[in-house]
Symmetry: C2
């Protein structure tokens, strides 16, 4: 029997051991999910919304939330304030995805009447079936057991089996228990939701014939491993892996006049959550001679960030990562020691010469944790060449002349350049923080995600879990509700080319 | 130097040899496409529409069309009537995809204003860049050099490099020449379109760093090979492969009263174009004792289909395929001899016992050509078990009680069952023929396509070639035109949740 060990991240002491799922547990969970799938798929979005609402409501109970935050803080050391905000975001996003499902445009219901030269066709998204969700370590609420992948898959009509992250094993089980209790008071079928734990369970989850899709948030190494595993199946299934990237920030020449403000913003952004954001800005391009490196180092010393990492391996790889960056040509310019004990690490600022940013260099890979690199460019051509060597990234940012300066001559060409590289481009703001809205896109070109056309945050997240089916020459009574003449789900639909 | 050999399909005689592209040719084509990509991407859809219109106009010139049809008929033996219809469809669909681009909803432009707790976000689809299109053999116009993949990629703002199919090498070159001449009179940049030929060129296309996506129509073997090749790249790119499938048809008990009509329809559908449709109905499920097998055999004898195949290998594998089906347990019930000479094959109807339709059996794989299997079921449970063993398929059909009978008790459960299996479900109609409309979906679960959420036909085809990018806190003047306040492209947009 293998176990998950729950540690106190601030002391490194093991608190308790918890048995992980057996292969049999996984098979049972997926069989139940597969049995529930047709029921869930044919349930009206408004009814599914009540299931998500019940979970959100349970999370919002103050005593429950306080206890979950306490548990999460012990396991992750992310702090009570941040975790309290995050649990609030999590119930908000459960409700948000339910609202998006009820609004219904994600189903893309489209109807073409018969004409003399063609048959009647009506198309709608059908839910894929059971989704395997791999929670992330760094957002124990918002991207984990009840996070954005779970919420959007449930909202889209798919049962979910979560593989709990071993960085917060007690919290994962507590969230699963809460979910089961909340759903018991609703019309949700058994099998709508399950938690499994342990490494072997994750592999079994991806291989199981009932699993229809995989959603993952985490490192490139783990995400690509799941993608490869899914590609080896007889029936290959989609893997929506959102993976950590370098997330470059470019400071234009005009922006250099406000370098102190930019340095403070950069220091705060890359050390936020101990640098454990997939959107952490890891690489700052500054005009040569702008004094940015010293300014960021000063800002860091004023900020005096203190950082426990989520797990011992993450703390280890943050420390190792700094060594790798130095061997790849970077130079340490500031080190702020971390707290004592547990999974603590220091904050490190490095400087690299722009010519060292070569394709394949370690300098162009994410270093998870409170670590960032500053690099100087001489002119736009040198900057362009360096940007051309970067990997696809979740987000890229520009600090331009002034907060509302659309006239900075470097801005427009930079946005064109960066939008070829990133899923989100930010101007005079920082990449950390991903709002849950209609226009959000949290994805990006390979290897930021395995499916660059999809987003894991925002209204677009639901569409990942459906697949269109067209019904040709089908009598109204035999069509799914979304396509019937009386439109019982009150969906926006495109009929003969016109949306109504 | 390797060559493409153009054969007369009716005689099997080689007509001429044509040099194929060198690796250098491919690199040059892709470098030009990559250079054109930003220009094409930033061109307004209405201007791109004039480029597609110029190509369509050139195809529509009667003398040109007649000469292209003559050439296509010699190379494919598909017949002048069918090819004349197909070239008409091809110019129509070039114009259709241009109209869909101008309408602009495929860009999914979405704008959220800033609020106190979140920044302004605006998202739009950006074209991926150069698309490698692998034309199909069986639709030398509609799914080849100027077919649905090329038209939808150009409409979506991506340069295209086509790998011409060796089944119609002269036609491919003639279509490419026509395209270059037509585009020369427009504002289209050099590099918008190119044709390359030869097997090695195809591999080089998929591997080239400039290629951003692959679109393919053809066999599972070839499509999956390209998918694997793309997955081995440093930067993995999406492969939209639409691949031939078995496309089952179920005749309900009530429908058995009109078996002669159904048998005639099935015979006509599976022999259409010599059975060389990816949507060919390859497997007919009929109620036991309905006399369907004899009825189909009779219909075939009345139809007396005559069939030249597209190529010698296709003719060979159709013949070999019948032997494989027999070894897998099927029994030949009717053979209609083909014409003499060239790539001719006979038409073959087989019968298989339903218990032989086991997962992994050859009976469940496509047999390209005028070949189909009839199988009898005793009751709904037996039928359901057999359907549960089928692979994902492009299309599935039901013949129910009467043309408008929504009351056939077997219809609704069958549609639920088949919509889990297929990208399109057809009632009282035949799967061959794929209308180009808003509601069309030409795709299907793995292995019908490598990307089951996407379609290669219909308005949805454009979205394959874009990737969303969100712009955060970006001044209006620096946004792409699709997201500017004055909406210069007049796109439908969702603003703060409401579509206008």
């Amino acid at each position: 029997m293998t176990v998950d060990i729950s540690y106190d991240a601030r002391t490194g002491e093991p608190v308790t051991e918890l048995a992980t799922s057996t292969t049999q547990d996984v098979a049972v969970a997926l069989a139940a999910a597969a049995a529930a799938a047709p029921v869930v798929a044919s349930t009206a979005p408004a009814e599914r919304a009540t299931w998500l609402g019940a979970i959100a409501h349970a999370l919002d109970v103050p005593e429950t939330a306080a206890e979950l935050v306490r548990l999460a803080d012990e396991e992750t050391a992310l702090g009570v304030d941040r975790l309290t905000m995050e649990i609030g975001r999590t119930s908000t996003q459960l409700r948000y995805y339910a609202e998006v499902a009820v609004e219904g445009s994600y189903l893309d219901a489209t109807i073409d009447s018969a004409q003399t030269d063609r048959p009647a066709l009506a198309r709608v998204g059908v839910p894929l079936g059971p989704v395997a969700v791999f929670g992330a370590s760094n957002f124990p609420f918002a991207f984990s057991v009840l996070g954005t992948d779970t919420a959007s898959a449930l909202a889209a009509g798919c049962p979910v089996v979560v593989k709990g992250h071993p960085a917060h094993p007690r919290l994962s089980r507590a969230l699963a228990d809460l979910t089961h209790r909340a759903l018991a008071g609703t019309t949700a079928p058994d099998g709508l939701f399950a938690l499994v734990t342990g490494f072997a369970a994750g592999t079994a989850l991806v291989r199981d014939e009932h699993t229809a899709a995989v959603a993952f948030t985490g490192s490139q190494r783990a995400g690509l491993a799941l993608w490869r595993l899914a590609n080896e199946r007889d029936v290959v299934i989609p893997v929506f892996a959102e993976m950590g990237t370098v997330n470059p920030v470019v400071v234009t020449r005009r922006a250099a006049t406000r370098m102190d403000e930019i340095a403070a913003g950069f220091a705060a952004s890359f050390t936020r959550g101990a640098g454990q954001y997939c959107t952490k800005p890891g690489l700052l391009f500054v005009p040569r001679g702008s004094g940015a490196t010293d300014a960021v180092a000063d800002a860091l010393r004023r900020l005096a960030p203190s950082a426990w990492m989520l797990t011992e391996p993450i703390a280890g790889s943050a420390a190792t990562g700094v060594g790798e960056l130095v061997r790849a040509g970077a130079e340490v310019v500031a080190e702020i020691p971390g707290p004592a004990g547990g999974w603590a690490v220091g904050t490190t600022l490095l400087r690299a010469r722009i010519e060292h940013l070569r394709a394949g260099s370690r300098l162009l890979d994410e270093c998870f944790g409170p670590v960032a690199i500053v690099t100087e460019y001489s002119d736009r051509a040198e900057l362009d060449r360096a940007l051309g060597r970067l990997q696809g990234t979740l987000v890229a940012a520009v600090q331009s002349g002034a907060p509302d300066d659309g006239d900075d001559p470097d801005l427009a060409p930079l946005l064109t350049r960066l939008s070829a590289l990133a899923g989100r481009v930010v101007v005079n703001d920082w990449p950390t923080g991903v709002a849950v809205t209609w226009a959000q896109h949290h994805g990006g070109p390979w290897p930021a995600t395995t499916a660059p056309a999809t987003t894991s945050v925002g209204a677009g997240a639901l569409a990942r879990f459906t697949r269109p089916v067209a019904f040709q020459n089908t009598p109204d009574a035999a069509l799914p509700p979304a396509l019937r003449a009386d439109n019982p789900w009150r969906l926006p639909r495109r009929i003969n080319g016109t949306v109504s």
